[in-house]
């Protein structure tokens, strides 16, 4: 009679595929990223075959690493047989060196180090931002092309193109898998943080519409940011500030939609259900980010979210402090999106008319959220007819069925 078998840890495959890819890339080089991805896929398939029948081994991670390592050595041998003219001075020396390198890369601390190098490589400034994100998701987070495409509401071929561009760049420019040092490290860190920030935002603004994949984008962005924070060379005030920002947002995950999957606005959310541990950890990170000395956009956004996360109610929120922070944020990041979000606190502090004046000057006429916020603010000023026009425009612009539902409900409540 068969014994009851061990279960696979949740997300083990996704996480391990990122680790395997990072470790193998150190041995194979970035130019051979496709071979690396093949080895990872073969390894997971071998596990699928074996574990389905024989159960999960005692140490699944070690099992995967061993299989991947053996597969890598096989490929190297095969490649050597194919290029016999490339004779070695001492037969077998290169293989021995390669094996040693592989062994070393699979030591636990080297795995973390490999992942960090991989993050920095993926965020190479020579690669467009959208390719960076696709590459991070594919190699470090173990997402399939189909999953990335669905998370970004785009075609698989588009994602393939983005990945192809990055791989080609690595091949053509002989990029090494090395984290930069000194000033170059500081510069590259900014690109890395921008990429992780974008990754988190993409996930966050879509968790409402879709579901699990989008939430996983946020969790992966947090995992990688945490990796940066845990290493002495990569941690910085900005890393802590970004981590704090992510934690405040993540604390509210479960309250952003109700049981029917409908969107719940900040003012309506059940604050007792916010994750207090994540809020506490967010505050801890915010302190570590040394906000008295540094005030990057991450610091300011984290500070804004900390005020929301710690307010006892929507009404009791410290709106004037939030408005002050938005003004500072706008000074370093003068984007209409920042102004759009600032208008909410402006309305709370100085009244709806000031906010409407700000909103009317913003060049966001194709953005559904602009009209949703404008509609809200117009309602506060009791300009109901204009408000319903704004909501109608917002409904026309949104691609998200759940947003549309919410907007339609609000529109129907306006008595003109």
């Amino acid at each position: 009679m068969s014994e009851p078998v061990r279960q696979v840890v949740e997300h083990l495959f996704r996480e391990e595929s990122g680790k395997l890819a990072s470790s193998l890339t150190r041995a194979f080089g970035l130019a051979r990223l496709e071979s690396v991805e093949d080895i990872v896929q073969d390894t997971l398939l071998a596990a699928l075959r074996n574990w389905s029948f024989r159960g999960v081994p005692e140490n699944p991670t070690a099992w995967l690493h061993r299989v991947a390592r053996n597969r890598a050595i096989d490929i190297l041998r095969k490649r050597r047989r194919e290029s016999e003219e490339n004779a070695e001075l001492v037969p077998g020396l290169r293989e021995a060196a390669f094996t040693l390198e592989l062994e070393r890369n699979f030591l636990s601390w080297e795995i973390e180090d490999s992942q960090l190098r991989m993050i920095f490589a993926c965020c190479h400034p020579g690669i467009p931002e959208e390719s960076q994100i696709a590459l991070v998701l594919k190699t470090l987070c173990g997402f399939s092309v189909r999953e990335i495409a669905s998370a970004f509401f785009t075609q698989e071929s588009t994602i393939e193109k983005r990945l192809g561009r990055a791989r080609k760049y690595f091949r053509d420019h002989h990029v090494e898998l090395e984290a930069p040092t000194g000033l170059a490290l500081t510069a590259r860190s900014e690109t890395v943080l921008a990429c992780l920030y974008l990754l988190f935002n993409e996930g966050y603004k879509r968790t409402e519409s879709e579901g699990l994949i989008q939430r996983d984008l946020c969790l992966e962005a947090m995992r990688l940011t945490l990796l940066l924070a845990n290493h002495s060379e990569t941690r910085s005030p900005n890393v802590y500030a970004l981590l704090a920002l992510m934690m405040f947002h993540a604390a509210r995950f479960d309250t952003r939609t109700n049981e029917q999957g409908e969107i719940v606005l900040l003012s309506e959310q059940d604050r007792s259900k916010w994750n207090k541990e994540l809020i506490a950890r967010g505050l801890h990170c915010l302190v570590h980010s040394e906000p008295d000395l540094y005030s990057s956009s991450y610091h300011l956004e984290a500070a804004i979210q900390s005020l929301h996360a710690t307010a006892t109610s929507y009404k009791e929120t410290n709106w004037s402090a939030i408005l002050g922070l938005y003004k500072r944020l706008y000074a370093i990041k003068p984007s209409p999106i920042v102004a759009l979000h600032m208008s909410v606190s402006l309305a709370e502090v100085h009244g709806a008319n000031d906010a409407i004046a700000l909103l009317e000057g913003l060049p966001l006429t194709n953005y559904y959220l602009y009209y949703a916020i404008l509609g809200d603010t117009l309602l506060k000023a009791d300009r109901r007819k204009e408000a319903s026009e704004a909501f109608t425009r917002s409904i026309e612009l949104t691609m998200n069925p759940r947003e549309r539902l919410l907007l339609e409900e609000r529109l129907s409540k306006i008595e003109v």
């Binding site: 068969s2 075959r49 173990g142 399939s144």
Partner: protein, 113 residues
């Protein structure tokens, strides 16, 4: 109780484009299925998974590299199941996770002793 060999075809051979998350989910479904059969006393042996590569040995000693079958025809593993008769065994096979990957099961009664 009679014994039946389940020949799984196409499992594990056609999954090269599945994501890590999907593969993990697939392992869980197989395990749940085997566990359920085990609890019901219908599992004699989980059996073994098979690799795709093969050699075909013909009469006269000729050896040819396989497999000849298409991906979905290649046997990916075998198990031994206990059931009253062939009809019940086939009924059990209907709940097998192999179908989720586009595979199939062949159910063969073992010759009684």
């Amino acid at each position: 109780m009679n014994e039946f060999v389940f020949l799984y075809r196409g499992s594990g051979n056609m999954q090269s484009n599945r994501s890590p998350e999907e593969m993990e989910a697939s392992i869980k479904r197989w395990q749940a299925w085997f566990n359920k059969l085990s609890e019901e006393g219908k599992l004699k042996d989980r059996g073994i998974p098979l690799l795709r590569e093969s050699k075909y040995v013909a009469a006269g000693g000729t050896i040819i590299d396989g497999p000849f079958a298409e991906g979905k025809e290649v046997i990916g593993g075998i198990s031994i199941i206990k059931a009253k008769d062939l009809a019940e065994a086939a009924e059990i096979a209907k709940s097998c996770p192999v179908f989720e990957a586009g595979g199939s099961v062949e159910v063969r009664p073992v010759t009684p002793m």
